[in-house]
Symmetry: C2
Subunit: 328 residues, 2 copies
Amino acid sequence: MDRRPVTLEEVARIAGVSRATVSRVVNGVATVDRELRQVVEKAISTTGYTPNRAARSLVTRRAGAIGLVLPEEGRTVHDPYFGRVVSGVLPVIRPLGVQLVLTTGDHREVVDDIRQHRLDGVILIHTHGADPLPRQLIEANLPVVLAARPVRPMSITYVDVDQAAGAALAADHLVASGCRRLATITGPLETPAGQDRLRGFRDAVARHGLPEAVVVEGDFSREGGAAAARRLVDLDVDGLFVASDLMATGALPVLRNGGRRVPEDVKVVGFDDSSPAVECDPPLTTVRQPVEDMAAEMARLLVERVERPDRPVSSVVFAPTLVVRRSS
Amino acid sequence: MDRRPVTLEEVARIAGVSRATVSRVVNGVATVDRELRQVVEKAISTTGYTPNRAARSLVTRRAGAIGLVLPEEGRTVHDPYFGRVVSGVLPVIRPLGVQLVLTTGDHREVVDDIRQHRLDGVILIHTHGADPLPRQLIEANLPVVLAARPVRPMSITYVDVDQAAGAALAADHLVASGCRRLATITGPLETPAGQDRLRGFRDAVARHGLPEAVVVEGDFSREGGAAAARRLVDLDVDGLFVASDLMATGALPVLRNGGRRVPEDVKVVGFDDSSPAVECDPPLTTVRQPVEDMAAEMARLLVERVERPDRPVSSVVFAPTLVVRRSS
DNA sequence: CTGAAAGCGCTTACAG
DNA sequence: CTGAAAGCGCTTACAG
């Protein structure tokens, strides 16, 4: 605070070399003479030198920071998913000396942050179909990674879980548990996740030679889950796949109040493995996304893109797993 | 990305003034002639100029960023509390052009980040008694704000809720609801929150002229709440204050399985108003901290401290409120 | 392999 | 009120 930090200049003076040489040692440039390197390293450690990032940024044109963009509503921050993303990203970028900056989804701000060299690129989570930000960033040729497959096909890097495979996991598990009369509460069918989970479930049911599942559209909310369950509770269904845990926590009390015991009368499988899945009664069997691993991959892809903007765009799809609990 | 961003230099050339003048306009220095200001503003908007932050940082010695330090375990990130802090901080610092950087509690890294001018100061959440970081930062005279009263008294800025007042709120509510035989499951008694909530509860019980409450120490975990509840379930208690919602979610099933109905036989009040409080059965009456407001205040205090390091240290304590739900 | 020098894009005394 | 100039602390061609 009070005393000025040590500069490259001082280290150079102490080591008896030029600033350029100290800079090379700091940045690990290989062409420095062994002995000289050691002298410099000694000077660095005795002075406790640590480079001024602003100065470096100014010449390298790199912020050394990436942004995690939150939807503007801000609701998402409370979502445990957000925490899992953060804990996946941090271990990847920290060793690289890259900072993680939290920003909201205001378009101007995000674009400005990148243009001002305050951010080298951004990770977008929870974007919806109408969100123009991904396309804007792409068109401005700014480094960006999406946390899910975009609603409309576009040339953008994303990391996702194989949604259809997750739904198939749920179907296979229900069938293996003896269920024959299946139903599903879907997500909103205009979202890729909503579509893919329905498709994966349906296909798996067909593969097992069972009659078509009853389908009720939901909206990923607790209330939506409850509403959908009310339309199912009097049907003769013995296996239910709910496309999100949150909807399932809405559906469970409706089933119970309707006299359908879980899992005795109807087995239930959710999706996400979020905290409500553990807290509800009975705890939910659910499809788990490897969110931390996915987030780590997003960070890696983004850093890669920042360093080599000319490389071809590629995306990564992870496999989900099934977590079995008492609801099935 | 491709085309270089506009610089102050270019704006100056277009406006026909010096760089200094443009800089003054950008920074809102009052002494610029009206007409000149307008010419400059026009040039800024036609060029879409936006200042390079690294260059500014280099000369002002301000990073324009503050850090939110997470405990190293990383567990905290999943805590909804964290999300509430973020959504409280962001609206305060965004208009100031200050970034929020997420970092882990590694001491060297935090101190380095500040010394490198990558961070102007930090907000520390979830520090525990043994954590040397707060003291280190204070001794290095670096701007820091704690999210709670420090375990040992020290000259540091913190924002907290009045814990004892919250516990008293719980006691008053239980008594007003007709409870006479009270008990409490405390937090760990080596923490300030654990101590203060117990003290506040006890004092309020005494104030009502009731016999001393039964006290069982917990540890703020769900399992700890369940374990503590086992020691209470056969006691003749009709009002229970649990010092955290998470512990309460552990205690509830134990009470139910022990034949104690909530709220008919025993009324239960938690603390935190976290998501488990809403999700458990029955939903919990609980003491709510205004976390977003507290976080906003932390941000304000930190920014203030960065700008005027010489001002006396002051802290802020907020009043809690009671949220009544079905458990009481 | 090493150093002198230019330059990154700003802000801010200092004159006028 | 305005401008010329110095300087913030680095990196990186360019010579040698």
